[in-house]
């Protein structure tokens, strides 16, 4: 999988490049808009990640040029401005997703994978993490064969974490998926729900599945932590 990243902030580009390479993606980097457009026009990429504020040619311009060639390549926009008007304009120009800085790398990765339709959209009706089973049709949760009663929000949270076992989810990501935008800034609600979930899912068992990665977020995994 080959990804083109157009980002003028070298350090940001560097972090994203390292992260993506660790996930075994091939990454090309451009630091200005004109180069970015030339690369996008010359090579076939599986995904474009565009910053909006670029020297010489803006991300929106590249987006429009690429779309004029009617390319179906997925495009993820990175921006430090998140005015509604900007967002609408870029979606209208053909952006597939939109990520506002500052973001957790985990969030970028989830979105990248979703856009590449590789792995993230775990569409199977049964999710399994260790001895935990989540039936997405009946919304039944069992651990070691024993049924666990969960509230709707607890279920939503558990299911979301289970879609990518081992992946760390930031509180912001969890809030956006399980709650909605209005709860942004209210990250302690996630902590409270995780604690309740733990009481039901982990406390009665010896193996703990719910992990806290301090400063980053939560993950669900049956691997023994490093």
């Amino acid at each position: 999988m080959r990804i083109l990243l157009v980002e003028d902030e070298k350090k940001v580009a560097d972090i994203i490049e390292r992260g993506l390479k660790a996930e075994r993606f091939a990454v090309d980097i451009c630091h200005n808009g004109r180069d970015g457009w030339q690369m996008a026009n010359t090579y076939d990429y599986d995904l474009l990640i565009l910053d909006l504020m670029l020297p010489e040619m803006s991300g929106t311009e590249i987006l429009e040029k690429v779309r004029r060639k009617n390319q179906s390549v997925p495009i993820l926009i990175l921006t430090a401005r998140d005015g509604m008007a900007d967002k609408v304009k870029n979606f209208e120009s053909g952006a597939d997703d939109y990520l506002t800085k500052p973001f957790a790398f985990a969030e970028l990765l989830v979105r990248v994978k979703a856009l590449l339709r590789r792995g993230p959209v775990n569409r199977s009706s049964l999710l399994r993490v260790g001895d935990l089973e989540i039936d997405r049709l009946s919304q039944n949760v069992r651990r070691a064969g024993k049924k666990i009663e969960l509230t709707a929000k607890e279920y939503g949270l558990l299911e979301y974490l289970a879609t990518h076992p081992g992946r760390v989810f930031s509180r912001t990501m969890i809030i956006e998926h399980v709650w909605d935008q209005s709860f942004q800034g209210l990250t302690n609600i996630v902590d409270v729900y995780v604690r309740h979930l733990r009481e039901k899912v982990d406390d009665p068992f010896t193996t703990k599945l719910l992990r806290t990665v301090r400063g980053v977020g939560y993950s669900l995994s049956d691997e023994v932590p490093a």
Binding site: E9, K11, V12, I15, I16, R18, G19, A80, R81, D82, G83, M84, A85, T100, K101, P102, F103, A104, F105, A106, T151, K153, V168, R171, W179, D180, Q181, S182, F183, Q184, G185, L186, T187, N188, I189, V192, Y193, R195, H196, V213, R214, G215, V216, A226
Partner: protein, 469 residues
Amino acid sequence: MNSRSITFRLVAWYAGSLAAIFVLLCALLYLDLRHFLENDRRQAQARRARQIANTLLIHVKQTGEAYVASQTKDWYEPEISDRFIRITRADGSLVYVSGAPKDGSFDPAEVPPLPAESHAEFYRKLDLSNGKTLIDAALNFKSAGNPGYLVEFGELLDPVEAMLDRLFLQLALGLPLAVGIITVGGFLLVRRALAPVEQITRAAESITLHNLSERLPVARTGDELERLSTALNRMIARLDDAFKNSKRFVADASHELRTPLTILRGELETLAETPHLNPELSERVASLLEEAIHLSKIVEQLLTLSRLDAGEAQSDWAALDLADLAKTTAEQMSLLAEDKDISLVCEAGQPVPVEGDRVRLKQVVVNLLDNAIKYTPQKGAIKLSVHAVNRDAVLEVEDNGVGIARQALPHVFDRFYRADQSSSADGKGTGLGLSIVKAICIAHSAEVEAVSVPSVGSRFRVVLPLFKN
């Protein structure tokens, strides 16, 4: 009418000074006229007294005193024409005195005898017992060979007084009328002159932070008011500029902060997820990450505020049921309350339709509830209620928590203001939650107020217009 308004003061001064001038002029006119008329009477009477002396008394030796008396009576008919005539000798004995007038207007006996006077001619004014005034002119007549006589000729001042009374009445009635007309005229004139001021005031009142690009109407009259509105417009333009600059600054600053924050978070995350990290180092990295995230949150909320200030809330405008919104939000947040053993009750029975941005209005409920939960101790109680009252939708969040000190109450919606520096809350708030509530309310033309009694509880009330189909 407002007694401090320019119209009132101007008209009052103008009518007051005119009335004073009128009163003064009328008084002068009246007094002068009275003086003139009385004087005229005196002189006429003195003339007649001289007539009696020069035509009759001069020949008294030849004619005898009786002739003088009868001639005087015949010529002047004092009883018919209401006159008083008296002729006395120098020793005070009487030659002639007129009888009482036929109409009984005065009694001649009331006129006291004159003391011997050295002056040739003099006057006196007598107030009679029936309230009338008699003007009495006296003349000392001396000639060779006769003992000397004192001739008195008097008349009532009645006609003069009647005329003066009439004039007084006319003035007394005419003056208030004139002042009244002047006042009304002045009022209309001043109001007309000040009408543009009223217009400018109304236009200025309608200009708020959200329509600073509007300007006052300028009437091209070349007068002081044109200058005033032009000057005001320039001031609004400067305000507009300053406001735009500060908004742009917040937006730019937030934007400029985001890139380094992205780098900070990215690098720290990479570090935090490095396998086999020294536990002490890992602890520090996590602490740094938490601060970076807190910083991101502040930047995020500042940006939200600056967008609300710029009026961007109107983008997702739709009709919605506030009662339903409150109920679902309360359910979603119930665990946060339960976690502190706080009972969270939602009173929202009937649908309460309002118009607005759903995400933003929900944020109002979330922030208010979060605030209430934060400042209510274990086992407290919070009540969220939504009602329609007249034409308004009223949302209230009431708690029995720590409350807000009186001096802090006016500032709770200020940015970065913290009511209680040593609060029992987790200290992870940004100090912007209530400012965001306020900004959202302003964008929805809603009022938000806080009432609180320390250690009894607080109540936040949001009042926004009901949506009408």
